[in-house]
Symmetry: C2
């Protein structure tokens, strides 16, 4: 058998990495819980029907499809051949593949809500932390299997939901110790900008161009807008809008001056002011790590957002956004259940991991697995050690007995490799006196104690 | 769009179910941790090569394969056609499918150890809790996506590992409140039985037949053994062996009498006695919920076990085993790394869930998500409510504000549907007096307090 390997774009997570990832995920989940969000889990496999056509043509190509089993059973063989021809013609066919791996958590959530909305208490506040799969070309920071971590409220138009999601962002990054900017904008203001520049049908063109500002810069954005058929005057208005700067209040006033004559801008500004005021007054405290920033250049790629949109960036680290989200009018219309608006946010777990590494913010204690190792010094000694270890475990301490009575240097090396901070020795002396010797493997300090509870 | 549905054999886990499942999984993980086991996570997708041929012909058929992307790209089209013909001929071909979903956690673990054994501290104590996928025919209690929950120690032959795994079983079911029998046998004793009945080559025939004893009964097992070519005398010996009963000591003595002249039986009995003594002396206390039972009819289906084998059954519930495992000589030989023996156990999470439901053993508190709902009684009132809610959340309490100022019966209905135990009212009176009213929604008891910390 050839040397085993992992599929490209996938990762094993060894013990240290799992502990660090769990630290992040447990921190986020704990905040979701105090905010009254409820956990949901959906299966990795969805019917292909459920996923296809939801992510655009490019997205469709990145969905991992599962081959049906038993294709070469005599009863399936003709159908499978016909289906294969369909697939080669660029279509889908249930007789070759009827299931696929989930591509994100939003569509499975929408599918769940559509299937269960009769029984759900609305508004439904759910969080979901599960892996998703995409057949993207793997590169640094981009994987084919990665976790998404979402919270959504559906069935409510109240802006208190936006306030709470903002406060969740602030609280999570406060707990993780990451200084962040929570950037806010409102699609209603972008809609007003489009109206100001020739009509609502320009909305997508403008949004797509603005979304690239960070990457390609102002001049290229202007070029693209001209190419997309906007006039020089219109492009100048957009430039004036994109160049708005200052404090939040100054920026809000400038947008009001530029677009205040349009109703959707008025509404968008009012919504932003409400969220800034309420979220700013609570969790996002002056001592907090989170700053709320109106960023009118923020567009977000997804076209289903209709209200306030969010993006989070770590301050002092060169990295894309570590969170994002927004309000949408219609979660489940695609699945036959209309009129369910909502708002949601997402955390970029892999990037948050990288930020914590770069800033050295993972607590040192989470690297420790086993806290105490009992060295194995022989048959009678290890029996006694085993009894004492069980007492220590009953106190909630993580410990293990080296299972073989091999030479001590080998046992020390094992403890060192596993970064175990304490070793307990029970040799013939300790056995005779009923004591035990404990050594701090970091400082070298050693002492004898009478009772296991004194370690 | 047609009504959405779930792929057959898969499940959504709504909030209540996730909470109950997390209770089980967190209980098990906490015990793994105090026993010094370390978490590992591997990707859902493995290379098809890694999985094929590891689970027998029947297993191979149940592996979910992932269709390669871009099959109808002009550069792939000829290879894809040729590959499809291979698949229709019952073979695998990387040009159609090169990846598959993991079928269990053991082979990915073996693949991980083979890839990383140079860096691993041995013995390596790992636990892993992740879903697996099998294209089995769905039926009651059998799913196409389900969780496995494994702990293994590799790189050690010491029987202390068996002792610890036995103690882990006892401790987990003690914490969950489930009375269990932990049944033990030793493949070495089955090997001795085979030797006694005509030679080692009979081992698999005997094991396979004995494994069916529970399902088909003694007479059918005897018939099967005769069909498999054993003589009437040999079948009588096996029947005598299978009918051994009494206390553990009585059973051990009876096996000794029957097979004690064979060395592997002697060794097998000695190992069982060691584990029974040490495990019995600690966690498996007289007050404990776990009974250690020698069960010489226990065979376990998998043919890679070579030493002590385990099976756990809930006492007082009609259900198959809720855990199982055993010792193996060679984890990673298939991946080119020889001589890594180990021992492992597994928990049947879905069945444990069903046992806890049937016995009514889930703690009532885990059904509670939100602890306090703040009713929304208007604009100024909800602003005040929101501030107080943030203070309560800072104290770690799970709460939410009903986001819209709708009529009270609707808000009460929502609280009832979500089983929220407490409601907090801040109306115009409370706003004026700076107090708040809290109502226990279970008892109806209502009181006014001055300070949010008094709720």
């Amino acid at each position: 058998m050839s040397k085993p390997s992992l599929p490209s774009g996938t990762r094993d997570f060894g013990p240290d990495t799992v502990r660090k990832r769990s630290y992040i995920l447990n921190t986020i989940k704990a905040v979701f819980e105090v905010y009254g969000f409820q956990p949901l889990e959906t299966p990795a496999m969805e019917n292909l029907d459920t996923l296809m056509g939801k992510y655009g043509d490019e997205g469709d190509k990145l969905i991992f499809k599962i081959l049906n089993n038993g294709l070469n059973d005599p009863k399936n063989i003709d159908k499978a051949r016909a289906a294969f021809e369909q697939v080669m013609a660029g279509k889908n066919d249930k007789n070759l593949t009827e299931r696929a791996l989930r591509y994100d958590l939003t569509i499975p959530f929408a599918r769940y809500v559509a299937m269960n909305h009769g029984q759900l208490a609305l508004p439904f506040r759910r969080y979901q932390v599960q892996p998703v799969w995409r057949a993207d070309r793997p590169q640094k920071g981009r994987y084919r299997e990665f976790y998404q971590c979402d919270a959504d409220v559906v069935g409510s138009k109240s802006l208190y939901n936006e306030v709470e999601l903002t406060a969740i962002y602030a609280e999570v990054f406060q707990r993780l110790g990451i200084p962040v900017e929570i950037r806010l904008n409102n699609r209603k203001i972008l809609a007003a900008l489009a109206e100001h520049c020739g009509g609502a049908e320009k909305m997508m063109d403008i949004t797509i161009a603005i979304d690239k500002l960070d990457k390609i810069g102002m001049e290229k954005v202007k070029e693209e807008l001209l190419e997309r058929g906007l006039s020089a005057d219109q492009v100048n208005s957009i430039e004036a809008y994109l160049k708005i700067e200052g404090s939040n209040e100054e920026k809000l006033a400038a947008v009001e001056q530029l677009l205040g004559h349009i109703e959707s801008a008025q509404q968008g500004l009012q919504e932003l002011r409400f969220v800034l005021e309420l979220a700013g007054a609570t969790s996002v405290s002056p001592n907090g790590k989170a700053q709320l920033v109106c960023d009118f250049t923020l567009a977000r790629g997804l076209n289903y957002y209709t209200g306030i949109i969010f993006e989070v960036r770590a301050i002092g680290v060169k990295m894309g956004s570590i969170g994002g989200g927004g309000r949408y009018d219609d979660l489940t219309g695609l699945f036959g259940v209309p009129d369910l608006p909502g708002v949601g946010i997402s955390f970029g777990v892999d990037r948050i991991y990288d930020v914590l590494e770069e800033l050295g913010l993972f607590p040192e204690t989470i690297a420790v697995g086993t806290e105490y190792i009992f060295f194995n010094l022989g048959e009678a000694e290890s029996r006694r050690a085993f009894q004492l270890m069980q007492e220590l475990r009953a106190l909630g301490k993580r410990c293990e007995l080296y299972p073989e009575a091999v030479k001590l240097p080998k046992q020390f090396k094992y403890a060192d490799q596993k970064k175990i901070p304490n070793a307990i020795f029970i040799g013939s002396n300790e056995l005779a006196s009923g004591t035990l010797t404990i050594k701090n493997l970091l400082t070298g300090e050693q002492r004898e104690v009478d009772d296991i509870r004194e370690v």
